[in-house]
């Protein structure tokens, strides 16, 4: 299972992506618990606020996973990034840190 967090918007309007494959991590079971408890279907529509970030959180199943993994996705306004959602994003950002880490969020900015 790959967890992908994409942040767009903000004053700069730049897109940043963080991601981590959890299956072989030592704390994989903690991830699974956290992912299962997230309220995926209870994210309310939030009207856009100028220059705030928008977070898209996606679970991408691995092709060869056994049993098959479910694909999930939620889009959250920055204001909605609280509780377990915030915990997840922090975890993904921490896990997706290269060998020579700068301060997070590290600059894997990209467009489109």
């Amino acid at each position: 299972m790959k967890v992908v967090v994409t942040r767009s918007g903000g004053f700069a309007g730049m897109r940043v992506t963080w991601q981590v494959v959890i299956d072989n991590l030592p704390d994989a079971s903690d991830w699974v618990v956290l992912l299962r408890e997230l309220p995926w279907d209870e994210v309310a529509d939030e009207e856009p606020q100028p220059d705030r970030f928008v977070y898209r959180i996606r679970l991408e199943p691995l092709a060869d996973a056994e049993p098959p993994q479910a694909e999930r996705e939620a889009t959250l306004a920055e204001k909605q990034l609280t509780g377990p959602w915030r915990e997840l994003v922090d975890k993904v950002q921490d896990a997706d840190t290269p060998a020579d880490p700068p301060a997070k969020p590290h600059p894997s900015h990209q467009h489109k």
Binding site: F11, A12, E47, D51, E73, H109
Partner: protein, 363 residues
């Protein structure tokens, strides 16, 4: 940029499947609060000199002006707080109106930027603060940790310190402060939705008046101005001069890691995307460049005729919250006609500027 192991290939590039298209509601409850705050401040003993609001220009469209006749504050009422590195608002007050400068540069930059923004709106357009009614200007600095953003939440300006790798502190550029407060002005006037073309117009209006705040503070003519947005915001490691360029959209940065400034300067480059509420910070390059072309064709100080036309457009009642570029363009031409006449060169310059970026004023 030359930082260590970073390369664009570090992350997988994903085409975003979708972002829910959401329609902003015009009646934002934040504004009810802001309006209440404004009323409360008017009821208190006003420490400022009160003067009569100037009479509207005889040819000015005045249908939707929010400036009521009578006493309005002609100087800002600023309060700067610090969130001290956490994402909590409003934080602790560190500098009130009239207080001596702080030892904290971000506090002083916010304070001064709020003042510069108030000054442009008051001196150039006789608008007293965001609501035209002396709304107190509140800012919070040091929001969050490595927070790469600044925003207006309906009540206050909020500034992050940046991550130090890509971004410096967000108070560093006065046009950023003018940009954020202008989101408040836009919300109070045309109430443009923050999505698609209306959202890109919303963004552009903030860049236009943000740039004019900087130009007015420096008393630069249209020819002298840099027309850059967020100059100084990038650290020295980034290959770029600013976040956006109104003079030459798409040229503000071209960096190994960040990539290239994606802004188009013409409708032929309009970007369809589901990120960023439909690319509002990308497609704003088109109306931004139209303003630049109009202001430089008119020449002189951009805040005078060009800025006045854009400001009149916000108050003129011709811009629906769902406006497209073409509808907004027509409203600027109508505002120029109302103020200067159909045959005035400024009106022709505005019309020509839109056509030059591939936007034909509607109707």
């Amino acid at each position: 940029m030359t930082r260590g192991t970073h390369s664009p290939s570090h992350t997988c590039r994903i085409v975003p499947p979708y972002l829910l298209a959401r329609i902003a509601e015009v009646d934002d409850p934040n504004w009810q609060h802001a309006a209440a705050a404004a009323r409360a401040s008017l009821l208190r003993d006003d420490p400022f000199r009160s003067i009569r609001a100037p009479e509207p220009h005889p040819h000015a469209p005045g249908v939707r002006t929010t400036t009521k006749p009578g006493a309005v504050a002609n100087s800002p009422q600023r309060t700067v707080s610090t969130a001290a590195g956490v994402e909590k608002l409003p934080g602790k007050v560190v500098r009130r109106e009239g207080d001596k400068p702080s030892s904290d540069v971000a506090v002083n930059e916010a304070y001064d930027g709020l003042g510069d923004t108030f000054e442009l709106y008051w001196e150039a357009y006789h608008r007293s603060s965001i609501d035209g009614n002396g709304l107190p200007l509140n800012a919070t600095v040091h929001y969050g940790k490595n927070y790469d953003n600044a925003f207006w939440d309906g009540e206050r300006m909020v500034f992050g310190d940046g991550d130090g790798q890509v971004f410096n502190r967000f108070t560093i550029a006065v046009d950023v402060i003018g940009h954020e407060l202008t989101h408040g002005v836009t919300e109070k006037t045309v109430g443009l939705q923050y999505e698609g073309q209306a959202g890109a117009l919303n963004e552009s209006i903030s860049d236009v008046f943000g740039s004019l705040v900087a130009q007015y503070a420096k008393r630069q003519t249209a020819a002298q101005a840099s027309w850059l947005i967020g100059e100084g915001l990038f650290t020295a490691e980034v290959q770029g001069v600013a976040l956006r360029s109104m003079k030459a959209p798409g040229t503000a940065y071209d960096d190994d890691v960040l990539g290239k400034d994606p802004q188009p300067s013409h409708m032929s480059g309009y970007v369809e995307t589901t990120d960023d509420n439909g690319g509002v910070h990308i497609n704003s390059g088109i109306p931004n460049h139209a303003f630049y072309l109009a202001a430089t064709a008119i020449s002189g100080n951009a805040w005078e005729r060009a800025g006045q036309i854009w400001y009149d457009t916000l108050l003129g009642g011709d811009v629906p919250s769902t406006a497209t570029f073409a509808v907004f363009a027509a409203a600027t031409v109508a505002a120029a006609t109302a103020r200067y006449g159909a045959d005035d060169s400024a009106t022709h310059d505005v019309d020509g500027a839109w056509r030059a970026v591939g936007v034909v004023p509607a109707g």
